[in-house]
């Protein structure tokens, strides 16, 4: 192989080097985390998670149905040996509720990696950040690795990180709203300051929203409704997989500068 050829090979290898991210000591290739709510059934849910290329899925914890113990169970379709389960605290409004829920989740699954969300009211489902921070401290004291759903407030994001959050997960827009990334400036500030992974969680409506989140430089995106409520959830899951990869690649590639005026792509020299 001549020198130029070897150089080219090195360059290709460099650009293809595996791009991974890590949270709480676990390393992942996929930067798309998907929820498991709102699907027609668990079979469609499992197919969407596969199409998304996800390695992590969020799950909720609820009472078993004692009147029909033979009803389908999530773990029979979305299997814990295929996906890392990220138990959430959806429906919890106090730190104590969140701690109780995640203690049970740790026993059910055997994992200490959890998603904390402490909501304020049922209309906008925005996080109660004061209570979220208090709950985080309780969970960290019990040895949990906590990925924290939060507002897009850089000041609170820093407080969460200082309190031991394993990852910061600001919303793009309210849960299930599909309104896209509402505050790119704040997300940019959060990403810039954070020394733990930052994931946009909630608000993504379609593929371009996921790409924008990744272009901002966040480590991963978490979504549920955008896939589950698409007319074709499996196809949207695939679209999201591509969008997250495209956004990540664009971020790594480094975008061109924005200019006020046009700049011709064809040379002006040598015109006939």
């Amino acid at each position: 192989m001549d020198g130029a050829g070897a150089g080219q090979a090195t360059q290709i290898a460099g650009s293809m080097a595996e791009d991974t991210w890590s949270v709480a000591g676990r390393t992942f290739r996929s930067r798309l985390i998907v929820g498991t709510g709102k699907y027609k059934d668990y079979a469609q849910n499992a197919a969407a998670a596969e199409a998304a290329g996800a390695e992590i899925v969020t799950v909720a914890l609820r009472r078993v149905n004692l009147s029909d113990p033979s009803q389908p169970m999530l773990v029979d379709y979305v299997k814990p040996d295929r996906f890392t389960f990220l138990p959430n605290t959806a429906g919890c409004y106090t730190g104590e509720e969140a701690v109780r829920t995640l203690r049970l989740a740790r026993e059910a699954g055997g994992w200490d990696l959890v998603k904390l969300e402490v909501l304020s009211n049922t209309k906008h489902l925005l996080p109660d950040m004061e209570e979220t921070l208090r709950a985080l401290k309780l969970l960290v004291a019990e040895g949990f690795q906590v990925m924290v759903y939060c507002t897009d407030d850089p000041v609170y994001a820093q407080k969460l990180e200082d309190a031991g959050a394993a990852a910061i997960m600001p919303l793009g827009a309210p849960i299930g709203s599909g309104r896209g990334i509402q505050n790119q400036l704040n997300l940019g500030l959060i990403i810039e300051q954070a020394k733990v992974p930052v994931l946009v969680d909630a608000g993504v409506g379609t593929a371009s929203d996921a790409a924008i989140a990744m272009e901002l430089g966040c480590d991963a995106v978490l979504m549920n409704t955008a896939i589950a409520e698409a007319k074709d959830p499996i196809r949207m899951a695939r679209a999201m997989r591509h969008a997250v990869i495209a956004g990540r690649e664009a971020y790594l590639a480094g975008r061109m500068p924005r200019r006020m005026y046009a700049d011709p792509s064809s040379p002006l020299a040598g015109l006939i």
Partner: protein
């Protein structure tokens, strides 16, 4: 014996322990988590955790969520 399970009062013939309760309810012990009187019962301790009349039991599992 009477137990409150997931908020509902249930009557059973005497059950010695949590393992017997989970089996009686037809549940797969590997797929649930159990709380007795607000204390987690580790799966490994189901057989060693005796039930007492009036116990409040929560039995939960993972379902779909975001």
């Amino acid at each position: 014996m009477k137990l409150t399970i997931n908020g509902e009062e249930c009557a059973f013939a005497a059950l010695p322990d949590v393992a017997a309760l989970v089996a009686t309810l037809g549940l797969d012990a590997r797929k649930v988590a159990v709380e007795r009187n607000l204390e987690i019962v580790p799966r490994s301790a189901y057989g060693a955790t005796a039930l007492v009349d009036g116990d409040r039991i929560e039995i939960v599992h993972f379902i779909g969520g975001g």
